[in-house]
């Protein structure tokens, strides 16, 4: 358990760095679609981080949470895009 934890902490720290760079884009984005792109990237990286976390602790329930999070973030992205287009639903 311990050596698996040490292997995956490096990967998780790199993914955290990527999330921080995306958060910078979300904060300083000039237009609204820039921020939506940043949110979408953060969602994908969080899914990958959940899968890595489930592999590190040998717990399958984290990966189930990752599947549900993927589908819900997809729906939220589509909804924000539909709102940005204007018009009626």
């Amino acid at each position: 358990m311990i050596e698996i934890f040490n292997q995956y902490m490096i990967v998780l720290i790199a993914l955290l760095l990527c999330v921080i760079m995306s958060i910078v884009r979300v904060i300083f984005g000039p237009t609204i679609p820039d921020r939506v792109v940043g949110i979408d990237t953060i969602n994908t990286i969080v899914i990958v981080g959940m899968v890595i976390f489930g592999a590190a602790y040998q717990e399958v329930i984290y990966i189930d949470v990752a599947i549900v999070y993927a589908l819900l973030s997809f729906i939220s992205t589509l909804f924000i895009a539909k709102y940005l287009e204007g018009g009626d639903f």
Binding site: V11, A14, L15, L17, C18, V19, I20, M21, S22, V24, R25, T31, I32, P33, D34, V36, V37, G38, D40, T41, T44, I45, I47, V48, V51, I52, G54, A55, Q58, V60, I63, D64, A66, I67, A70, L71, S73, F74, T77, L78, I80, A81, K82, L84, E85, G86, G87, D88
Partner: protein
């Protein structure tokens, strides 16, 4: 062990492409190129990282007869399928919304899609002709 080497190489490739996605989000000039970086690179990196997790599950199932490993591999494959199906569709929706809300690419001078009728559903609700969309497409 050859399995461990393949797992580490896959993890390295995946982390490299995810960090490239973050750097591209910071450095590219407009929405569409940022969308390239933020969607394609994370999809490619996710394929390799979750592929390494699948290999870990298969290894733990095959060599130490742990049924938890097979469940780990199959559920990770389902998460990978979810990412592969939803990520390009979301990117396409964001790009279409950005173009229709008036965001132009950097240093762009010509917009070929400007004269096309865009909102098909609203035209149908207000009673205009639906066939005007196909006529605009043929020009």
């Amino acid at each position: 062990m050859i399995f461990d080497i393949i797992i580490y190489v896959f993890l390295g490739i995946g982390v490299f492409f995810n960090v490239l996605a973050g750097v591209g989000l910071l450095r590219f000039p407009d929405v569409y190129t940022r969308l390239h970086a933020g969607t394609k690179c994370t999809t490619f990196g996710s394929i390799f990282i979750i592929g390494s997790v699948i290999l870990i599950g298969l290894k733990s199932w095959w060599f130490s007869n742990d049924t938890n490993g097979s469940v780990l591999a199959i559920h990770s494959a389902f998460a990978l399928i979810a990412i592969l199906l939803t990520n390009p569709v979301g990117a396409h929706a964001i790009a279409r919304a950005a173009h229709r809300s008036g965001v132009m690419p950097a240093m762009a001078v010509v917009d070929d899609l400007k004269d096309k009728p865009v909102k098909k559903s609203t035209k149908r609700k207000t009673g205009a002709k639906i066939t005007s969309n196909e006529e605009g497409g043929e020009q």
